[in-house]
């Protein structure tokens, strides 16, 4: 059956404002000041172009991630090279694939070992929400154990979708204030996951 239209024209727009709450201005100060803002921007620019991913690839999405790394899509174009399995050295935890309850603590462990600033991307239905596996053994979304910055739907997402999610992460990283990681909101967020 031919489809009457091919694309939907009103999909959700992702807006970083939904996600990062910038540090509130303290009373009496007018923001971070020019220099600090510029520094933030430059650092943001550097960070977003040098996000080293830690592929926590457990299943199908990991295979699609291989395709993303491979020549056709070339993840390295974004500076996201040097895949490391050492959490200390990576900036972006990409959880790809089903995380079973047995695996949950390990995801958290890896997250804890990462150095700040760190970001988490849940790739695929299983990592984001459990997907079709609404069963006794599967964690229904990794945001139960670690805070997630970007969700990428799809089962598995196409490489384009993974790249799209990665660009969302880059937007987020680029806009993040240097102070965010010291803010109370961020601490409260981590606290809600029992971290620190």
């Amino acid at each position: 059956m031919p489809r009457p239209v091919r694309f939907n024209l009103n999909p959700q727009k992702a807006d970083t404002k939904d996600h990062i709450s910038m540090v509130d201005m303290p009373d009496g100060y007018s923001g971070e000041g020019f220099f600090a803002t510029k520094l933030s921007e430059v650092v943001g620019l550097a960070r977003k172009n040098s996000l080293w991913p830690l592929p926590f690839a457990t299943s199908c999405c990991g295979i699609e991630f291989m395709a993303t790394m491979a020549s056709h899509y070339d993840f390295a174009r974004f500076g996201a090279e040097r895949l490391g399995f050492s959490p200390r050295q990576c900036d972006l935890l990409m959880v790809m694939g089903t995380i079973a309850k047995k695996m949950g603590p390990i995801v958290k462990q890896v997250y804890l070992q990462m150095a700040e600033p760190r970001w988490v991307m849940a790739v695929g239905a299983c990592a984001s929400s459990g997907g079709i596996f609404d069963s006794y053994s599967v964690l229904q979304g990794i945001d139960q154990v670690v805070p997630v910055d970007v969700y990428v739907p799809g089962c598995p997402p196409r490489p384009e979708a993974i790249l799209d999610g990665f660009i969302r992460i880059q937007d987020l990283v680029g806009e993040e204030s240097l102070r965010r990681r010291n803010s109370d909101q961020y601490k409260a967020l981590l606290q809600s996951y029992g971290i620190q």
């Binding site: 650092v43 550097a46 172009n49 070339d74 490391g84 050492s86």
Partner: protein
């Protein structure tokens, strides 16, 4: 000719300090762009495009990486020995940079009425000095790996240390064969000897090959990257490092590569000699300063070719297994270099007694 180390002359000190600063800066810059080149070459070899979003063609990529690493959180694992943990990358960087002191980067330039030799120190034990510093390079790996208090790191440290020690031997013996020909340990002299005749690679092809292989091993490059084999040991000895300490380790590897390329170019490929050109005549015609710049570029070009070769090999062949690596080192390269040394010595003797080839 040797410059006494203690003849202190203020102008000389300033000159040398500037030279050191320039060489260190250049080494770091080269190392930075080596990371970029590594990614790009890997990409081209693998039919990809490589980083192209940070700046035009991605040339700001190393800057972004560096800045990011600077701004990242420092993690010092609780259980590890903090002092050693910090010392490790520092040592790695230090030993990597120290070798550059004796390499003649070009002949001399004439500036402000002074003749400035573009070499930090022309000591008459240049090769031994390189050898000594290289043998020191193992500490960065060992201490870093041990202080991380991680079994993978420890395994990597032990692998790396034994590998570097083993390959140093073959490297040294292959150099001895070269030294029999040059009869000098000073790198400057060696370069000058090559200015007129053939490059030493023509006399010492086997020695060069052994030196090249050992250089790969000393730089921890594939196929000898056992100490940071990512599929086995998960980056090995620098696994626990984050932030700029990691940056130091990565940088040290690239600086090492740069310096060993320079050493190879100097020893076997005429150093700053411009190939197919009579340098002296050229200098007489265009002036010494012009010549020095071109010679520097010539050395640089040779170094770039070597660096490309390093990367090309890395992205082509699989790595060895630990025992195979040791077997190659001890049973392959050392006997071969000994043989090479003996044959060279024999020929040198024959020539001393007046026997000439054809």
């Amino acid at each position: 000719m040797h410059v006494t180390l203690l003849a202190i002359d203020l102008a000389l000190v300033i000159e040398k300090l500037i030279l050191i600063a320039v060489i260190v800066t250049v080494s770091l810059l080269v190392a930075m762009y080596e990371t970029y080149a590594e990614r790009k070459i890997a990409a081209f070899i693998q039919d990809r495009r490589g980083p192209n979003r940070a700046g035009p063609f991605g040339i700001l990529q190393p800057v972004a990486d560096g800045l990011k690493l600077f701004m990242k959180e420092e993690i010092v694992p609780n259980l590890s020995n903090k002092f050693l943990f910090i010392l490790g990358p520092g040592l790695a960087m230090l030993t990597a940079m120290m070798t550059s002191a004796v390499i003649p980067w070009s002949s001399h330039i004439e500036l402000f009425g002074r003749t400035i030799h573009l070499q930090i120190a022309d000591v008459n034990i240049g090769i031994l000095y390189i050898f000594g510093v290289v043998s020191m390079g193992v500490y960065g790996v060992m201490i870093g790996g041990w202080a991380s208090n991680n079994k993978f790191s420890l395994l990597a440290a032990i692998r790396g240390a034994s590998q570097i020690i083993s390959y140093e031997l073959a490297m040294g013996i292959s150099l001895i064969a070269l030294l029999m020909l040059t009869q000098s340990l000073s790198l400057k002299t060696i370069v000058q000897q090559q200015q007129d005749g053939l490059y030493y690679v023509a006399y010492q092809p086997v020695g060069f090959l052994i030196f090249l292989i050992c250089a790969f091993a000393e730089c921890n490059r594939t196929p000898f990257d056992l100490s940071e084999a990512e599929s086995e040991l998960n980056f090995g000895y620098h696994q626990e490092y984050s932030s700029m300490k990691l940056g130091f380790y990565l940088f040290a590897e690239y600086v090492n590569m740069f310096i060993s390329s320079a050493v190879m170019a100097t020893l076997y490929f005429g150093g700053y000699d411009i190939p197919f050109v009579n340098d002296a005549a050229f200098g007489a015609h265009y002036g010494q300063n012009m010549l020095a710049i071109l010679q520097g570029l010539s050395l640089f070009l040779k170094v770039v070719i070597f660096i490309f070769f390093f990367m090309w090999v890395r992205w082509t062949i699989p790595r060895f297994r630990y025992d195979q690596l040791m077997r190659l080192g001890w049973k392959g390269l050392i006997p071969l270099s000994l043989l090479n040394m003996l044959i060279t010595g024999f020929i040198v003797l024959l020539r001393q007694y007046g026997w000439h080839f054809s």
